[in-house]
Each structure stands twice: as structure tokens, then as C-alpha cells.
Amino acid sequence: MEPLTWTGPLGAYLDTITLALAAAFFVAVLAMIALNAAGATGRVVTNPDGTLSTSGSPYDLLASAVKWIGVALIGLVLAYFVVGVFGGPDAGGIVGALSQRMTPVWIALLLTFAISIGFKRKLGLYGKLFDSTVGMIGFALVMFWVFTGVFGALDMIITHDPLSQVSGMKNKVPGTPLSGAEEGDYQWYLLGGDNLARDVFSRVVKGAWVVVQIAPLATLFAFMVGITLGLPAGFYAGKLDTVLSFIANLILAFPVILLFYLLVTPEIVATGLPNYMAAVLFIFPLIFVGVLLNARYYTQPSIRTPLLLVVLGFLGWIYLSLISASGTKINILPASLDLFDIPGGILVVFVSVVFVNAPTVFRIVRGLALDIKTRDYVAAAQTRGEGPWYIMLWEILPNARGPLIVDFCLRIGYTTILLGTLGFFGLGLPPESPDWGTTINDGRRLLSIYPHAALVPALALLTLVLGLNLLADGLREESLKD
């Protein structure tokens, strides 16, 4: 079996053109920036149909050149992928093979976009996202990794077991044929092998699932904690605010890595501290939902009481299942009722990420509450005798949602970075875990000779976080247009 080249037979025709176009694009963009910095702008003309456009000057020529070269470039890149989906490694080389493996992801992405754009006017802020190019690119990147993670977990994408080592594949470059391949095995290590001779591609795909699971959930918990504490701090101000702000600043003054090193060690896990912290942090969603419903329905006890019983009962069960695990300090729920156990390593990572993020969310929510509580509709609620929690949760919080949604996206990205940092220092997650931080850490030792093992997860993390940032930017832009 021959080793694969990056673009296969297709590349023989297209690579030169693609490179030339890419170079031209780069030069044109640079020239445009230079012209722009020198103060040149397009001359704007009004069209008969009432729109504006630019034309005429050298700047405009350049701008349209950038546009068309860009379009051509995107078309070419798409061609590589499309050929890959249908032709596989034989036609498209490594890129083609990857593209073929990713087919379920492409289909899911296409469906998501087709449906969303079709109904965008009915989908509120989410629909408006599809009016912004930046937002759409960000959303596409994020969903790419979400689908990769989900389908990867379903074993639809990976080519090899991410943990199994194949002799002779240690540190092999991308496209190396599998040594001793048997019938039914995938024939190549598409992105090469790592220093333990495992398939880099499959590990990255599996690693996406770890991130996609933990990052949004941890961010959500951090928001619950931040909101439940930040609203009263901003609303009541005074002593409560002073105390809570002091604690928040205390946590923020800790260098994150030091905190991780202190919290995420086997010795600390043995003391049960993470379990206690989990018990405290995970109770906040319960408080939040309970207060939310009570404030809304307390005038109608006949609805309120059963509703609260059902909702809190269910959440409480999940809560108890979450915090109690056999073999740790907190084991209150009998095994028959315990829905699931979280491995100590994951729990401690989860808890510390929530712990680090919550104070920042607290500060944001507090600031927003301070601002919104001066509005007349809050005064109106007060003058009709509403309780403070109703005002906080139903009058203030819904009107702070714009900035909070934007921050939520940014914060998922930040959480992803934090998870990577933990992995990079070998903290928390087991050493064979395929998550990106751990993989980068493994790969960096041989970085100057075999960069691919660290480079691939690094690029994966980069694109996901970039996608989240772009998504947040698009959302911010669109929510400001209201």
C-alpha cells in the first residue's frame, strides 16, 4: 500500500492553481489594508433601486478583486472536499479521505443550515444569526465540531480505536498505510500516529466529544451560580453586594493554574473536597428554578405547589445522583436509585472549571442588574408590590439576556481553553484520555521532529474557539440591531 499524499491525484491538477489564488488573495487583502490605512475609501453612489454601492476608484477595483478571488478560492477548496466525499482517498488523497469520513457531519451541517435559513424569520435571535456572515461562519465551525463529537461518539467517523496501539506506527507521518493491516481495517493512519502509535485522527474526533460534553454544561452551571448570586448582589447592593463581590474578587485574584494545581490533584480528590464543592455548586440550579417558578406563581397556590413538587423532585433526584457516587465521601443515595456516577477525574475538572468561571459571570450579571434596576418598569413592579425575586428573575433577567447570551458563547470558548490548559498540564483527566489538551501535551515532547501529533489537536481547538468567538460576535451584532 502506498502512503497517501495530501491531495492525491486531484492535487496534481489543482494544487498550483489553489496556491496561486491563495497568494493572490493574500496580496490583494494586504494591498487593500494598506490603501485603507492611507485613507482611501470607495466613492459611494446611489443606485436607482435605492441601494448604495461603490465603484470606480482603484480601491473599489481592489475590493471587487478580493471578493472574486475569495469566491474562487472557496470554490476550489469546496471542490477538494466534494471530490473527497465521492472519490475518497483514491481521488483526493488525505483531504479526500478525511472528507469522506466526515460525510455524516457534512450532511448534518447542510440540513441544519437549510432548515434554519428556510425558517429564519420565525426563529427570533437565532434566525437573525443567518443575516450575518460572521455569525454564520462561527455557527458553522461550532456545529462542525458538535456534529463531529456526536457522530464520533457514535463511532461513525473514527477509523481506528483511539486507545489501541499498532506496532510500527509510532510517530508515523500523515497518510502512512497501516502496517499489518487486516481485512476490514481502515488502511491508513490519515493524520499519522502519535508517540504511542495511536491514530491521531481518531483521537482528535473522540477528543471533540469530551469538549462538546463538558464545556457547554460547565458554562451553564457557572451561569446558574453567577446569575443566582449576581442578581441579588446588584439588586440589593449594600452589604450583601460587598461580601459577595469580595469573594468573587478573591477567586479572580487567584492565578487559574495555581488554583487548578491545588484543586485537581489525586490527594485533594481523596479528601472529598471536589465532592463537597460539587454539592454546593450543583445546588444552585435547583435554587434558581425553584425561586423562578415560585416568584411567578405564588399568587396561584393551586398551580404553584404541584408544579414545584414535580420540578424540584425531579431536579433533586438528578442532583443527588450527580453528587453521590459510591466510593467517595458523599454516598447518600442507595445504588438502586443512583442514576449515574461521574468519574472522580471528570467531576473535579468540571467543578474547578465552574468554580473559576462563576465569579466572572457574577460580575457581569451584577453590573447588568445594577443598570436595569433603575428602569421605570422595575419601579412599576415595585409599586404594585412585587417581591424582590420576581423583579430579579422576571423583570431584570429577561432584559439582560442579550449580553448574557453573547457572553455564554464566549465563555464556552474560554471553558474549552481552560479544559485544554488542564489537559496540557496533565491535570484531572486520565493520561490516555483523547481530549485535546492531553493530546497536545503528549505531542509537544517531540514537537520539533514530529509536529503533527500536537498540531492536529491544536488546530482543532483553535477552530472551535474561533467559531465560538465569531458566533458571539455575530450574535452581538444582530442583537444590537433591534
Partner: protein, 348 residues
């Protein structure tokens, strides 16, 4: 103003006390001590042997007493063994009775000894801190001007091609943590795979002799990640200022565009980023730890990793004190600077 600084200093002290106590508490939890005893004594110690090893060294006392000792407000431990030898925290074994110090804590200037490096903590910290100071200094030198220029240029004309390209650039840098950009840079510029080999993948030599070749990659790695955020803040602040009514007033007064930007907009636009730059320094500390590990540069961040992964209690405490103080001082500077830059607050 004086009163304000005094209050802030008081608050800083309180914060530092709380934080060091937390570190102290976490490092002195029993499993940690057990590990300490076994690494210092021997690995096959029995439960009782561990107990007595710890007891002899005052580790089993009340947490607050131990913390007080470390601070130097409680007398150090003294153990008299059955054979009559007297050991103590604050004096050498069998020192004469009247030459024994009772207190030896931070207040007395004694930061303890590092068990891993077998060296005085204070001197360890000071040499490593100097090395990191050099790194940080270069980072700030590269990062701040670059961030401000990018931010101001982008925010000057909102929505222009310049704005869009620079914004994309700064978003990308904020999405690239140090351990990602570092890996990419080393792979491209220092690995044999791409064959460029412009720079070195290790900065170990830079401690003594920093050259462009061995120091550029670590500096740019930290600077880029920090830069994006500051640049975006500057841009946001600049676009906001450029749409302010007083900018229109200036324009309708007949002030030319360059003068509007330089004389009217810049100072107002820099108020917000200034605080961000200062608050960014604690984050730089994070980056320093990552980069020093990645490039094997033996500075303060590297020391932190060593101390933390070996549970070197005294060293870890000193490291956290230093980093907390750095964070708090930058917060103080940021507050004072904000007040200074913003006449609205300064005078009222």
C-alpha cells in the same frame, strides 16, 4: 486620594491573607501531608511512623496555629525527643537555648526552605522572578503598542475593510491560547518537518543570554493571546467614542480627521483599554506558566509548576503570595490610572 490608596492597601492585605490561608489549607490537607512525609522520609513508612514524623515537625497541629507560624505571629514548633535532642522550626538542631528564635515566619523575613530544590525559598523566588520579569517586560513591550495600534486603526472607521481585516485578526488571536499558538509556532518555525528552523524551540538559554532566535517565540506566543483582547476592547471603545456627540461637535467645528482622532478621540478611547491592560497582567501570568513549560524557560511559572506538582508547601505558599500580590498591585494601578485618565472621576 491618599485615603483611597490606604483603603485599597488594606483590602489588598485582607485579600492576600485570605488567599494564602486557602493555599495553606489546601496544601496542608492530610493526604498531602502524608505524601510529603513519605517522599521526605521513606515510601514504606507505616501509618504510625507517618503520624510521628508529622507530629515531630508540627504538621498535626491546628491549622490556624500552623498558619500563624508561617506568618510569624505564632511561635514556631519545638519538639524535644526522648533522647534529649531538641529540634525546632526556627533553629538548628541542638542550638543553644538562648540563641533559639521563637518566631520565624514571613513577618520575620523567613520564607522557609524548598524541599525539592533544597534551597532557601526567598532566593529561589527572587532569581526566578527576575527571569520572568524579563519575559514579561518584552511581552508588554510587544503587546501593548501592537494592541493599541490595531484597536485604534480598526475602530477609527467602523465597518471599513481595514476594520474588518484587523478585527478578524484580533478575534483569531483571542481564540488561540498559548499552548496552541506555541505549538503551531514551534511546528512551523522551529521543527524539522517544515524545515524553516528560523527560531529555536527551546528558550532555556535565554535566561542567561536572550537572543532574537531563542526568545522571540515565547514572547510572541504570550503577546498574541493577550493582544487580541486588548485590541478588541480598544476597538469597541474607539468606535463608541467616534460616534459620540462631541466628536461630531469637533467635526462641525472644522477639526480635520487626523486631529479628531489624535486630539479628541484617543484619550477618551484609551480609558477603558487601560484598565483592561492592567487586568490582563494576571492572565499573562497564566500564559507565562504555559509558555515557560512549553519552551522550558526556567522562570517563575516553571517554579510554580515544580512547586505545585511536588507539593513543596513553603515554596508553593511563597509563589502564591507573589502572584497574588502581583495581581492585586496591578488592580490598584488600574484603579489609580483610571482615576487619573478620567477627569470626570479625578476631580469630583
Amino acid at each position: 486620594m491618599g485615603l483611597f490608596i490606604l483603603r485599597r492597601l488594606g483590602l489588598m492585605l485582607l485579600t492576600a491573607l485570605c488567599l494564602t490561608f486557602i493555599v495553606f489549607f489546601l496544601t496542608n490537607l492530610y493526604p498531602n501531608l502524608e505524601k510529603l512525609a513519605k517522599t521526605q522520609g521513606n515510601f514504606r513508612m507505616s501509618e504510625e511512623a507517618v503520624e510521628s514524623w508529622l507530629g515531630d515537625r508540627g504538621y498535626t497541629d491546628n491549622m490556624f496555629v500552623k498558619y500563624g507560624r508561617w506568618l510569624g505571629v505564632a511561635p514556631g514548633w519545638v519538639t524535644e525527643k526522648e533522647d534529649g535532642t531538641v529540634t525546632g522550626q526556627c533553629f538548628a538542631e541542638n542550638a543553644l537555648e538562648d540563641s533559639r528564635d521563637r518566631y520565624c515566619g514571613v513577618l520575620q523575613g523567613d520564607w522557609g526552605r524548598s524541599l525539592v530544590f533544597k534551597d532557601d525559598v526567598a532566593s529561589l523566588i527572587s532569581t526566578r522572578l527576575a527571569a520572568t520579569g524579563k519575559l514579561m517586560g518584552f511581552v508588554l513591550l510587544v503587546m501593548v503598542p501592537m494592541a493599541l495600534i490595531v484597536g485604534v486603526l480598526a475602530g477609527m472607521r467602523e465597518g471599513s475593510g481595514l476594520d474588518r481585516s484587523l478585527s478578524t485578526f484580533s478575534i483569531t488571536t483571542t481564540a488561540t491560547p498559548e499552548y496552541v499558538s506555541g505549538v503551531i509556532f514551534v511546528a512551523i518555525f522551529a521543527s524539522s518537518a517544515f524545515g524553516l528552523k528560523w527560531f529555536k524551540g527551546s528558550a532555556t538559554q535565554a535566561i542567561e543570554n536572550a537572543t532574537f532566535e531563542n526568545f522571540f517565540l515565547p514572547v510572541i506566543t504570550i503577546a498574541l493571546y493577550g493582544m487580541g483582547y486588548i485590541a478588541r476592547m480598544t476597538r469597541a471603545s474607539m468606535t463608541e467614542v467616534m460616534t459620540a456627540q462631541y466628536i461630531r461637535t469637533a467635526r462641525l467645528k472644522g477639526v480635520s480627521f487626523p486631529n479628531i482622532v489624535l486630539k479628541h478621540a484617543l484619550r477618551n478611547a484609551l480609558i477603558a483599554p487601560f484598565t483592561v491592560i492592567m487586568l490582563q497582567i494576571p492572565w499573562l501570568l497564566n500564559g507565562v506558566v504555559i509558555v515557560e513549560t512549553l519552551f522550558n524557560y526556567k522562570g517563575f511559572g516553571w517554579l510554580l509548576v515544580q512547586a505545585a506538582s511536588n507539593n513543596d508547601i513553603q515554596l508553593l505558599l511563597a509563589v502564591s503570595v507573589v502572584s497574588v500580590v502581583v495581581v492585586l498591585i496591578t488592580q490598584l494601578i488600574s484603579d489609580i490610572g483610571y482615576v487619573y485618565l478620567n477627569p470626570r472621576i479625578r476631580i469630583s
